[in-house]
């Protein structure tokens, strides 16, 4: 805000010499014969036209495909609208009241939170370990980056096909390997107590590469002198990792954790494709519940209301993120 104030006053009141003198290279006081006052007004108009002109294409898409659906969805959530076009009338907050009393809604919200909690920890820790290993200076860097990152390039459907096949109770590779080392077979996608963990494992395999790259990029930005100084002081590899690498990575870690939480809250694809939300709704996330109430239950208004409850959750997390990162940087 303060920067706005200074730039505005500099534009509007060009007679403030201090403003210019403080930064002479930026804006030179105009040459002889050209007064700022006469120049500034047409220039402002041109800037306004140019600014909005350059923003216009993005703004058009933004308004039509983001702002409008956002507002229209809010309106829909207050109606009894159905996919068959029946009841369009406003019914106030009835959808929200119904949703808050809907055990299935709470169950799907609970599943989403459960997935977020149990997936975030391995997705951050394994990424950190991978990056630390590669950053030590292993030979054939491309090989490690390719192996760890390649799954991130796959579509969720491909990942789901791979893992549904490996999780197959009778023919699957995983149960066969378990049997070989004398462990009992597991009904990976059919046991309500295990299914969510099976999804977490597939998700870890699929997406950890993204966090790995973010960590690796951050590690490679840590100045080499830090390590040189530490090794002169006789600090070993472990000591260097915990005393230099980890503390230097703190901002990256905070960012990765928060990005991961927001990504995990949106889970849908791999669940829908691997378990369709089952068994017995034990893996159904809230995005799937939104999809189902809207497109198979035909209740668009009700579905929109659940969307907004979910949105509320995301906003809450984002606001918390904002304050946490604020405090850290302050």
């Amino acid at each position: 805000m303060s920067s706005l104030a200074t730039s505005e006053s500099a534009e509007q009141a060009p007679s403030l010499p201090g403003q210019f003198r403080s930064n002479p290279s930026r804006k030179r006081p105009s040459g002889p014969g050209r007064s700022n006052a006469s120049q500034s007004s047409p220039r402002r108009t041109r800037d306004n036209l140019n600014g909005w002109g350059f923003a216009a294409p993005f703004l058009a898409f933004f308004l039509v495909f983001l702002v409008w659906p956002l507002l229209y969805g809010l309106y829909m959530s207050l109606t009894g609208k159905s996919l068959t076009g029946a009841n369009d009338s406003l019914i106030g907050l009835a959808n929200y009241a119904e949703a808050l009393a809907d055990a299935d809604m709470w169950h799907s919200l609970g599943n989403t939170l459960y997935f977020t909690v149990i997936s975030t920890v391995p997705l951050v820790l394994v990424a950190l370990v991978m990056a630390a290993l590669v950053n030590v200076g292993l030979p054939a860097q491309w090989l490690w980056r390719l192996s760890y990152f390649a799954p991130y390039l796959l579509a969720s459907t491909v990942v789901s096909l791979f893992f549904s096949w490996m999780y197959n109770p009778q023919l699957g590779l995983i149960n066969d390997s378990l049997a070989k080392i004398g462990l009992p077979k597991v009904a990976w996608l059919n046991d309500p107590n295990v299914a969510m963990w099976a999804i977490v494992i597939a998700t870890l395999w699929w997406t950890v590469g993204f966090n790995f790259l973010l960590y690796l990029a951050a590690m490679q930005n840590i100045p080499a002198q830090h390590y040189e100084a530490a090794s002169l002081d006789g600090a070993g590899a472990w000591r260097q990792f915990f005393s230099i690498t980890l503390p230097q990575l703190t901002p990256t870690t905070v960012m990765i954790v928060l990005l991961q939480i927001l990504a995990s809250l949106k889970i849908f694809d791999q669940v829908y494709q691997m378990t369709a939300g089952g068994p017995a709704g034990s893996t159904r996330p809230v995005v799937q519940y939104i999809f189902e109430t809207g497109f198979t239950g035909y209740r668009l208004g009700y579905s929109a209301a659940i969307s907004y409850i979910f949105f509320g959750l995301i906003v809450t997390v984002s606001v918390m993120q904002f304050f946490i990162t604020r405090r850290r940087s302050a």
Partner: protein, 298 residues
């Protein structure tokens, strides 16, 4: 990265030799690191390997009760032949390719324009516009699917590629990635052009854009990968088999083939191939792209 390259020459005389010493001492430690990294790499490659082996089996071998890495009746490309005869995978790959390319081009064009305005032009309402775009970063796409679907029905775009493309071109976070980059380009570079009375558009296309190639490539890669892999929205907005994208098409195959595991794995591998090939060719750019846009995305 920059700091390393900058400091290296100054330290070359002393630190290079000092750095090498601890490396030699830690051979045991380095061997352990190598071992753990290798175990992780193997774990991460097994799904690919297992899918490949299965795809080259006959259906009988694939569904044999005994799991085998080397099938009893030998390897065969039957599954791939059958998948190709279906003809769907090439069609869906093409659909994914051109919708993702269109999304990338439009996203890049409109985002770079607005980012330039936010970075360089002082116009009325700029702060408000910036705040609104920043705020919109937190909107999760799944929240919009219901009203967007309804909107597409009203616009008669359901079951057309436009329905897939248009809602995916808004990436508010990428606008800020670009703006940050433009902010760093020295203003002195445009000053001469401004003196000559060049228009904003000319400055943008002839000075700013050529200097921004690395970040444009990074954003393009990030947007392309996310468009290529998007499932939920194309799944909702299209039913017509001829315009399905690869992820959505594969979902239909899964139920159509039922227990044809070799064919399932062959389709999955064929679907995975294009991006893996692209990755092998553009490894550096993709890694940089994901790292910079991911890091700057917040």
């Amino acid at each position: 990265m920059a700091t390393q390259t900058l400091t290296r020459p100054a330290f070359r005389g002393t630190s290079a030799t000092q750095l090498r010493q601890p490396r030699k001492k830690m051979t045991a430690g380095r061997a352990a690191v190598l071992a753990v990294a290798a175990i992780l790499a193997v774990l991460w490659l097994i799904p690919f390997a297992w899918a490949t082996v299965t795809a080259f089996k006959s259906e009988t071998d694939a569904t044999a009760p005994k799991v085998s890495w080397i099938p009893p009746s030998g390897f065969t490309a039957d599954a791939f032949v059958k998948v190709f005869q279906d003809g769907n995978i090439p069609l869906w790959t093409w659909n994914s390719l051109y919708t993702s390319a269109a999304i990338t081009v439009i996203t890049l064009a409109i985002s770079a324009l607005v980012a330039y305005a936010l970075s360089r032009i002082d116009f009325r309402g700029k702060k408000v516009l910036m705040t609104v775009i920043i705020a919109s970063i937190i909107i999760p796409p799944p929240v919009l699917i219901i009203p967007l679907f309804y909107q597409m029905v009203a616009l008669h775009m359901i079951d057309t590629s436009w329905a897939i493309i248009l809602p995916q071109v808004i990436h508010p976070a990428m606008v800020f990635v670009l703006k940050k980059f433009f902010d760093q380009i020295p203003r002195e570079l445009e000053e001469a052009a401004v003196m000559d009375g060049a228009s904003r558009m000319r400055i943008f296309t002839q000075i700013i854009l050529p200097l921004s190639r690395p970040i444009l490539a990074a954003v393009a890669i990030f947007v392309f990968i996310s468009a290529w892999n998007n499932f939920l929205w194309p799944f909702i907005s299209t039913n017509d088999g001829s315009i399905l994208t690869l992820p959505v098409g594969l979902q239909t195959i899964k139920s159509a083939y039922g227990i044809q595991y070799a064919q399932n794995m062959a389709s999955a591998l064929l679907a995975a191939l294009p991006l893996i090939l692209v990755f092998l060719f553009f490894q550096r750019q993709i890694i940089k792209g994901v790292a910079t846009t991911g890091l700057a995305g917040t």
